[in-house]
């Protein structure tokens, strides 16, 4: 019992002092986590498809940076993105959350110009302004800007938008015995 007092007398004020010091330091050296959001955002595929449940890639990046969202909610990015995020954040790689959707090869939206009635609903839905057109005028997708996010599909009243696969012309054919995970898709 007699040993308790010196303990309290010494450790108490010392703790107080250290606490004050630390809080001052914390105030001084504030958290700069914006750079982290940028770094995460850079790894996302930028399709802006909202399948992760966030309105765009940047909001999802912010949610990840704040620890509010898991890293496996991006179907367009697939395993590659999950791996990159896991690397950046020092987390374990995990499988894609299937509740968000399935990973697909990159797509491109094409408007069937025969059926388009010019309602502009898809134009409003497109997250990257890749659809050109005006009311009562036929719309068209600017191929180079389309991210294949599929957000234009639900609003179309006449179902005139199709998604085609975006195939780059290969330089060479890859022999069958070359086994690379990314090629499996």
């Amino acid at each position: 019992m007699t040993q308790l007092w010196p303990t309290l007398i010494i450790l108490g004020p010392a703790g107080l002092l250290i606490g004050i010091g630390l809080s001052i330091a914390a105030r001084r050296w504030q958290d700069h986590s914006d750079t982290m959001i940028e770094r995460i955002n850079k790894l996302l595929p930028q399709t802006q498809c909202e399948q992760c449940g966030h309105p765009g890639c940047r909001p999802y990046a912010r949610a990840i940076a704040r620890g509010e969202a898991d890293i496996n909610r991006c179907p367009p990015g697939g395993d590659t993105t999950i791996r990159a995020l896991a690397d950046l954040l020092g987390k374990q790689v995990k499988a894609l959350d299937s509740s968000c959707g399935e990973h697909k090869a990159p797509l491109l939206a094409v408007i069937d110009e025969q059926r388009c009635i010019g309602c502009t609903l898809c134009i409003q839905a497109c997250p990257v302004d890749a659809i050109a057109g005006a009311a009562k005028w036929m719309h068209t997708v600017i191929a180079a800007e389309c991210t294949g996010c599929e957000l234009c599909l639900p609003p179309c009243p006449v179902d005139c938008i199709d998604l085609v696969s975006l195939a780059d012309q290969p330089q060479r054919r890859i022999p069958a015995h070359v086994q690379i995970p990314d090629l499996a898709a």
């Binding site: 290969p170 060479r172 054919r173 890859i174 022999p175 069958a176 015995h177 090629l183």
Partner: protein, 343 residues
């Protein structure tokens, strides 16, 4: 993406894993024969046992991992592991040494890591280290060289010793075994004897241990043949031998009474064997030119440190394991400069 049959080059490589392993085994042959000549047929029994267990475990592991048996059983890598391991055992070691050693070598050190080419530690040395740590006594029972034995053990007696793990009736371990030259040096130093005094003992030859030095020469011959065949390359062996020589010379010159002759270090124990056959294992070693030099030097330094200050008689197994551990790091920091990139 569309697939096609095959790209360039259209002609095949002229070598194969199997050929490489077979050449290593062939290069070991002179050393093995010399070993038998000086230390009796025990080593042959050990090699047979090790091969037997190695292939049993190899077969079981491959089946468990559902790998194509034919390719992998024929690649001879398990045989190389088994022979290298057996050559590091005392000739009269109990039979279960090979069992335990090969269990750790093949199952844990090799197949847990993904099998051929993926092991990060030298399997033979893992097996040996397990035994060294768990049953150090076994390694104090080495057969004396044939020149010092009046009536050598018969084949039957050798087999009985190995399988009953007891010396033949009417004999004691002390009668049929002896401490190795390196051990004698160590105990000599501990009891205050000078190196020169210890070296007066009968087990010592011109530089190293009696018999040992000749086995080392035959190993070296096999190693040189491998060098000539370009199966191994000069960097690792040269680094091991040169470092051993350069590190021990100053000690010897400084105090010849307390420190053995540099050549003694090279020609006794497993130095030459390690330099040409163990440290040159490409899988668990470094693949960069500078990395290989450092790897060899590291092996030599650790080996000498353990001989000088450690409690184990010959630290090669540990030296190899420690350097295996650093090999990926060495690779990382000694990566060659890519053509056309600034230095």
């Amino acid at each position: 993406m569309t697939r096609m049959a095959a790209g360039a080059p259209h002609i095949p490589a002229q070598t194969s894993v199997q050929k490489v392993m077979a050449q290593v085994l062939l290069a070991l042959l002179p050393g093995i024969l010399a070993y038998m000549y000086y230390f009796g047929v025990g080593i042959l029994v050990q090699i047979t046992l090790a091969l037997l267990f190695a292939y049993t475990f190899e077969y079981l592991s491959l089946s468990a991992r559902q790998q194509p048996l034919r390719n992998y059983l024929c690649d001879l890598s398990a045989a190389v592991t088994a022979v290298l391991f057996a050559l590091s055992l005392p000739p009269l070691a109990p039979w279960w040494c090979s069992l335990i050693g090969m269990l750790f070598a093949i199952v844990i050190a090799k197949h847990l890591f993904g099998g051929l080419g993926q092991n990060r530690f030298n399997p033979a040395m893992v097996g040996l280290a397990v035994l060294l740590i768990s049953f150090p006594r076994i390694f104090t029972h080495w057969s004396p060289p044939a020149m010092l034995v009046d009536n050598p053990l018969s084949m039957l007696e050798v087999l009985r010793t190995i399988f009953t793990t007891q010396p033949p009736p009417g004999m004691s371990w002390d009668a049929i075994t002896q401490a190795t030259p390196l051990d004698q040096l160590r105990t000599g130093a501990a009891t205050g004897l000078l190196v020169t005094e210890v070296r007066q003992g009968p087990v010592f030859g011109h530089f190293g241990g009696l018999g040992w030095e000749w086995i080392a020469n035959w190993y070296a011959l096999g190693g040189l043949w491998l060098l000539w065949r370009r199966v191994i390359h000069w960097r690792v062996p040269v680094a091991v031998l040169l470092t051993t020589f350069m590190l021990t010379t100053p000690f010897y010159l400084f105090d010849p009474d307390a420190n053995p002759l540099p050549l003694q270090h090279i020609f006794s124990g497993a130095t030459v064997f390690v330099a040409f056959f163990i440290a040159t294992d490409p899988v668990s070693g470094s693949a960069t030119p500078r990395g290989q030099l450092l790897f060899g030097a590291g092996v030599a330094i650790i080996m000498l440190a353990i001989r000088r200050w450690g409690v184990y008689p010959d630290g090669v197994a540990f030296a190899i394991l420690v350097m295996n551990m650093f090999a990926p790091l060495l690779d990382q920091y000694t990566r060659p400069r890519v053509f056309g990139h600034p230095r």
